[in-house]
Symmetry: C2
DNA sequence: TTGATTGCAAAGCATTTGCATGCTA
DNA sequence: TAGCATGCAAATGCTTTGCAATCAA
């Protein structure tokens, strides 16, 4: 992951403060901290994940606040909710991030983000065909990644101690 | 919805019985009833929906059995799980039904099934590009359907008493 | 000062599980 | 008869809500 540029970081903070102000909400140390940590962490995070990261800096912050702040970040356009099939809601960075879809390895939980302008085009055409004005869409593909295919073929076990980030139970979750 | 042909109906029952037999399970009156009602009901059903339909015929059948039987139907390839963003799991007929994707109206809950060979193609290419062997994929698009757009433009309320089948809260659910 | 925010505990909600009883094969 | 199936209640897991205390503006 590329280190986030300082300007982008500041820009995102600004967006958050603006959103808070516009909505008549209040800036608090908890929100600052949660935003800060979210911005510094690339990768897909659950509320739980973020909660533990926040705990390290300030053990007084509660679960609820993290949940609520993630909703706020989503409303502000800084975060986006995604689900990969393990029943949890993940949050990814949204600001200045191209729209993309996800490939999920059901063996090791690896997530690959991809983008296809052709697919997007066809989706828009499809929506048009049925008279829909689209607001959102989600394309997820589950399968076995190259590494895991290799492992299976060679009758070798998963890397010792490997804990899949995402344990896919149901592919529709 | 076209009325299901008798042969198809019988074929699906046969598949279920076969699945049960192969898995060393047992045929019961509850499973028969649930299968029967599921097969006779087109549309997307939640476990809860199916439960109430079953109740009308046999009030002694419990929630749990419906849940478990739907899982069974899914394993047998007769049903497929889908989620539309209201936090519930819906089941649709899967046997002899072309793979398809979903357009969901976030205003009235209308679900449109569509299929695009081009999109499927591009998906496969994308998976190949990243070395994935695909097992499953899910494309959902949310938006406002033609009827609801019209209603909004005309400042007219939703049809009185209209209860959306699907009340979309979060688009990722 | 006022009303938004916080953290806790409790509630919600869909789904799953433990277990004693009932029933197929 | 063996052991799968059932239905109830309880548990689960994630998320949301009620509420009294706290704190930003």
């Amino acid at each position: 992951m590329v280190k986030k540029k300082r300007e982008e970081f500041l820009k995102e903070k600004e967006i958050f403060l603006e959103h808070i102000q516009k909505a008549g909400l209040r800036r608090t140390s908890q929100r600052d901290l949660i935003l800060e940590i979210f911005l510094r962490t690339e990768d897909h995070l659950t509320s739980e994940d973020l909660y533990w990261l926040v705990q390290k800096k300030d053990p007084s912050v509660g679960h609820t606040t993290v949940y609520r702040t993630l909703k706020l970040l989503t409303e502000a356009g800084l975060a986006r909710e995604v689900r990969f099939g393990d029943g949890k809601t993940y949050y990814e960075h949204h600001y200045n991030h191209e729209h993309h879809d996800h490939l999920i390895c059901t063996e090791c939980g690896k997530i690959i983000e991809f983008f296809s302008a052709e697919i997007e085009d066809l989706q828009d055409k499809m929506a048009e065909k049925y008279g829909f004005r689209l607001t959102n869409h989600s394309l997820r593909m589950w399968g076995v990644c190259g590494d895991c295919q290799k492992r299976t073929n060679e009758y070798i076990e998963a890397p010792s101690g490997a804990q899949p980030r995402v344990r896919v139970k149901s592919v529709v979750n």
